[in-house]
Assembly symmetry: C2
Homo-oligomer: 415 residues x 2
């Protein structure tokens, strides 16, 4: 049986899970794949964990001639990018779970792999254990793919699920997510949408073969979502989810990340807790959805080990993007919108507001007028689909109306 | 660029969709796969469709030395099995969408492929366009898989969805399914569960590497499901789905197909219309779900073309089963149950019934006592998990009680 030596960079949650899973399921892996995996060196300069193969020097992994596949589980771009490139130049296949380095440097990494006749895989960078990049690469040859979108961040989905099911505030739900290990001490990367935006860039590459610049990707997180928004969404049959969206149409590509109100009947609405789910829409196959655990040591290690086997089987990497495209500005995209505002509790207010929207060509679908809190009352309006810049122009006029005390929140409505 | 000649057996909905999709998306296929596909001969002795490459003689496809991959889209076992085996013996890869021939003859087919150093693929036989067999084969090397289950028949899911959403009877919903092209003129294969049971056998092979005999697979269809059952299920938070289930535990394997009440919160509950969705549970990755169109010309052709590319890329077939196992008898499996019965509308009835179940160790979870229709009233009971033979023993005692006019239906409750 073929034996493959593996070096691991980074011995945190993921690196340690990879070593442990190879240890635990090595026999299964060998039976299924015909390949015996052996971790021969692990480098981490900072970890307090113990392992007999652990060294502080990453070079000992990158330059070890006995190592055929390097697993990069450090995260971030420095020094991960340099290590990945050096390992590839040393003729080693690289498998990484690092969404940031792939989103920012995919082309350089794929080019270096190709120049050195080795492969690089990053299934674990999107959707944790879910096989999504491999199907995009190897299961949809007969399809032109026009859309890929879904729930790609488990932390925010856990928080939104807690807010929905247990009527928690954002900060209460964040606290619980930290206690359960679903959110990091500094949750910015997740709750502000960076993580999902990195994944959107990778999905764009894999689904369309298109390279986009991360700096052009519009993203917002979930920090502005309130209990009230969740509750009103529920009243009209929606739940709020943070979605990463990539579309291509007429030679243009859209890539954006933001909260979306999803109909309760839509399969994404029942993706709860830390689970992820990604839709892929192809012209022959129609809609596909891939669902599973988007994070966690074992699921991520499952994806990494699969990539190691793919590399050892000689599977070629994802090809480099066939084109680099500008991302369509978010202001030019279309959406439906939910707006929650605070208005005086007196007659004639809705008439004034709807007149302004009407003048701007923004049409109202549903209105929820709620009971007053003293002299003010919440007013919730759902709008039909409109180009974002037109909607924003109308909204800025609304904000100037004397009868509008405050526009509390704006959330896109879709699916 | 590598060119691959294809022969197609059967020019019905599927065969014609394959030829049309290669024609329509040939350029995309070539760009993505590096392979140019060319249909060079199509055989169908009966079709009234026209195609310039059409012949009536299947031998002209099977024996054509220029053909590298044969697509079998005839269906059934005769003459499909013989054609598949002969094509393999002639050194051709075979791709089939035929669930019946694979479920009944997988081992012989895989053995013949292996002996002739060619591959056989059958992604389209389960879940239509959904990549499910390829992920089971190539995306879960690090996992021991213990369960695979889901909605694998689009016809019955369409009928059950119509009954649920539009309050139709089974026969009304079947009629609509026929009108929409989701059910065949003779719907027996779908509505009585044969189709789902074939798929359950294939999933068992792919997920566990275990061969089972189709004749040992317990299956029932949806013909006994009534509007009333759907409505009562809804009252207690469930929808009824036809599930194919395969489990392995402690050296035993369960494979069965039957209606199941699924909690409305479960992602399978929102799989509506003709869609399919399959869960896979692995020890490292946890729960995965694969969702998409389970039938239809284009989705099925998408899966078939992918298999053609896999064969042309030299991907090895699924390995033969590592063991042949007896299927655990359905009477030894455990489930929760819903029972709907008709009882006299008078005091003391429930007490008598619950006493008998209690004596047999079958415990009640929920009771719905409904308004009477004249002198009789429906009584609905949900039971906690119990071994099926114990439940059936209790049920047969119940049927003999004077206070039980009729046991109208029994449905498993799960998920």
């Amino acid at each position: 049986m073929k034996k493959v030596n593996i070096g691991v960079l980074g011995y945190g949650n993921i690196g340690s899970a990879v070593a442990a899973l190879i240890n635990r399921n090595g026999k299964t892996i060998a039976e299924k794949s015909g390949i015996e995996l052996k971790v021969v060196k692990i480098a981490d300069p900072k970890t307090s964990r113990k392992h007999p193969l652990l060294t502080k020097k990453s070079e000992e992994v990158i330059n070890d001639p006995s190592i055929e596949v390097v697993v990069e589980a450090i995260g971030g771009t420095k020094p991960a990018l340099q290590y990945i490139l050096q390992a590839l130049k040393n003729g080693k296949h690289v498998v990484t779970s690092n969404k940031e380095v792939v989103a920012l440097h995919a082309d350089q990494i794929l080019k270096t792999a190709s120049e050195n006749n080795v492969s690089v895989f990053f299934e674990a960078a999107v959707g944790g254990g879910i096989p999504i990049l491999q199907p995009l690469r190897e299961s949809l040859y007969a399809n032109n793919i026009y859309q890929v979108y879904g729930i790609v961040n488990g932390t925010t989905n856990y928080i939104l699920s807690s807010m929905t099911n247990d009527k928690m505030s954002f900060s209460e739900a964040l606290l619980r997510a930290k206690e359960k290990g679903y959110a990091e001490a500094n949750p910015k990367n997740d709750v502000e949408g960076y993580d999902a935006a990195y994944k959107a860039v990778i999905l764009t590459l894999m689904a369309f073969g298109v390279l986009v610049d991360f700096s052009e990707v519009y993203f917002e997180g979930i920090t502005k979502i309130t209990k009230e928004d969740i509750s009103y969404a529920g009243e009209i049959g929606y739940v709020i989810k943070l979605l990463a969206v990539a579309k291509q149409k007429d030679g243009e590509v859209e890539v954006h990340v933001h909260p979306v109100m999803v109909s309760k009947d839509h399969p994404l609405a029942s993706v709860g807790g830390p689970m992820n789910a990604i839709y892929v829409v192809g012209d022959a196959v129609g809609e596909l959805m891939f669902y599973g655990q988007g994070a966690g040591g074992d699921p991520t290690a499952s994806a990494i080990i699969n990539d190691i086997i793919a590399a050892a089987h000689g599977t070629p990497s994802q090809r480099r993007a066939h084109s680099k495209m500008r991302v369509k500005d978010i202001s030019k995209t279309k959406s439906r919108y939910y707006v929650r505002m605070t208005v005086p509790d007196k007659p004639g207010v809705l008439a004034q507001i709807s007149k302004v929207f009407g003048e701007e060509g923004v049409s109202i679908q549903t209105v929820l007028q709620k009971e007053s809190h003293g002299k003010s009352a919440p007013l919730v309006i759902i709008f039909h689909e409109v180009v974002e810049e037109n909607f924003n122009r109308a909204l800025s006029k609304i904000k100037k109306l004397a009868v509008v005390e405050k526009v509390d929140n704006v959330i896109r409505v879709g699916l």
